[in-house]
Amino acid sequence: MIIAGIDIGNASTETALARYVDGKPEFLASGIVNTTGMKGTRQNIHGVFASLKQALEKAGLAVENVDLIRINEAAPVIGDVAMETITETIITESTMIGHNPSTPGGLGIGVGVTVDIREVNSCDKGASVIVIIPKEVDFDASSQIINHAVKNGIFVNGAIVQRDDGVLINNRVDKKIPIVDEVSLIDKVPMNMRAAIEVAAPGAVVEQLSNPYGIATVFDLTSDETKQVVPVSRALIGNRSAVIIKTPAGDVKERKIPAGKIIIQGTNKKAEINVDDGAEKIMEAIRSVAPIEDIKGEAGTNAGGMLEKVRQVMSNLTEQLPSAIKIQDLLAVDTFVPQTVKGGMANEFSMENAVGIAAMVKADKLQMNMIAHELETELGVKVEVGGVEADMAIRGALTTPGSDKPLAIIDMGAGSTDAAIINKAGEIKSIHLAGAGNMVTLLIASELGYEDMGLAEDIKKYPLAKVESLFHIRHEDGTVQFFDKPLDPTAFARVVILTPNGMMPIPGNVSLERIRTIRRDAKTKVFVTNAIRSLERVSPTGNVRDIEFVTLVGGSALDFEIPQLVTDVLSKHSIVAGRANIRGIEGPRNAVATGLVLAYEEGV
């Protein structure tokens, strides 16, 4: 008889097709397509069809030849991710411009009162001024005005320019002054206020204005006032040019947003934890309370809203009441989000702390029965719901050459990380945890400030390179690759993602090293944390060290670096871990589908 095992995952739907001869399975072909719709919903059926058809075509069979289809009990886990910022920086009464135009003009530090360039000649002789040059005044006119004013005895000590004219003005004025250009919101700069401008030499950074005492020196501040400018100086660290304008009521604050509490209800214990305490504290609480029954957020707060949103989405999908949806696990990760500073003038942003959360909901088994039922009527083939996903995965994983019981697997998917362990006697214990590939994508997107999840997804999946000339690129590891045709000018001097469809330039001005660090950190924060966490939960002793062999399966195990990151950390716990090779040919894919077929003989 011919059996098809079909695994509906969060991201892909996989098929294993086998013929049973004398009670022994002989595998014929596999299929893989993207999952249609959210896992565990009616929309999955299209994906199941496509995946099955693919496998059948490879094997030269038709649907009529199939005697039995086994689908996974997609028991679990619909995961969702959310992000909450817990700090923000607000500048009231605009006091600073700290940005990095690529080409500021001049050099040094200048202090004076802000004046519109068109009115500078009405200033008193001997006055110290900073001229403000809006885009209506071009560099020729403004340099002439400045030279004229300087001749008349007005001390022009610096300039703030809207256009990208810094160097041009600098080359045309007789007296060298610091010039900050490309200040987009120049009309927000207050007039007749004391201001200081600093431009550092190429390759250097501002020193005076990034030092609280430096600011105090320039503006004659008292010790109390100096304390207040600390956030300003902090925000200017690392810039090549900076402006600070002192307004009477000026103030910069870094403030903590009350994010609210998370309430974790365990079987025996209960814990409450503030989201602004950070991810570490939250994870500690979750660990101490396990096993968890439900997780709630404090009503009326951001934390509450975040978790209720997840619950609402799940309730819509499963057609159950929100109150019936239980959040069974949560992965919190500390991260940071670039946010525009409120009250800034050149779209300055500051890195704010945030907590990223992946939540996991146990869905209803009935949904899969419904899918099985519909498939059966449409295909005219008997369809049954097989066992729990992780149990199936471990059966599949055991087909990896060189593996044997006892064995643990970590199934790293898109929506959840699952772990299972099988002992010598064949008993299986499994666990589903929140946080996987989608969480990594979210972290990459938020830390780089992208709205575009597709871009973050590509950064996650593919290595980077830097285009160094029109003819060559340098890979992440330093190797150089030449091309015989010139590369696209839009990619020139940029960091590119090496996708299978060619190079994709990354917008913005972020260095390759930084993107690489963010990518690897995100993967470590999610998968390494979850690998340890899940193994702890399935280990017979509760200690990771008592597990000897681990195989990695699932879509994220195909990643070019996640398996190495996990293998590396697990080896420190003296665990042999590596990517599975299902049936010796499939790599880490197809474990559950294969397991579904194999479980048939055991009558599970």
Binding site: D165, V167, L470, P507
Partner: protein
């Protein structure tokens, strides 16, 4: 070994025709180069084709970067490219910012910085 102090200066070569009526276009391009802080040299030539002018400039330039400007077009060329395939070409009636941007891009080619978009927006 003695350094050769007679070696030509590293400059971007900007070539245009003789007795021109489009000085404004040339000035805008030069401003773009100047703002990026790269030296340049302007040379007049009897030549009508902007691509040829640009490539001739790239050949003359120690940096391998040339700009050819005619009444009709502004072309940016690089010595390592095929003669008939310049990097950028824009019409001479483009607005000031675009003309400046092609000048900036000549300098950025030298500095190995991402190009400005010639529709006057940074790739972002």
């Amino acid at each position: 070994m003695r350094m050769n102090f007679d070696a030509p200066k590293p400059e971007i070569m900007v070539l245009h025709g003789k007795n021109i009526t489009y000085q404004k276009v040339v000035d805008n391009v030069l401003n773009g180069i100047e703002e990026e802080g790269i030296p340049f040299l302007v040379v007049e030539m009897e030549e009508a084709d902007p691509v040829e002018l640009a490539f001739r400039g790239a050949e003359l330039s120690n940096l391998g970067v040339g700009i050819g400007i005619t009444e009709k077009e502004v072309v940016l060329h690089f010595i390592k490219l095929k003669e008939d395939q310049p990097i950028f070409r824009i019409p001479a009636y483009s607005d000031d910012t675009t003309l400046r941007a092609i000048g900036s891009n000549a300098a950025r080619l030298v500095k190995r910085m991402p190009f400005k978009n010639l529709d006057n927006t940074e790739l972002s």
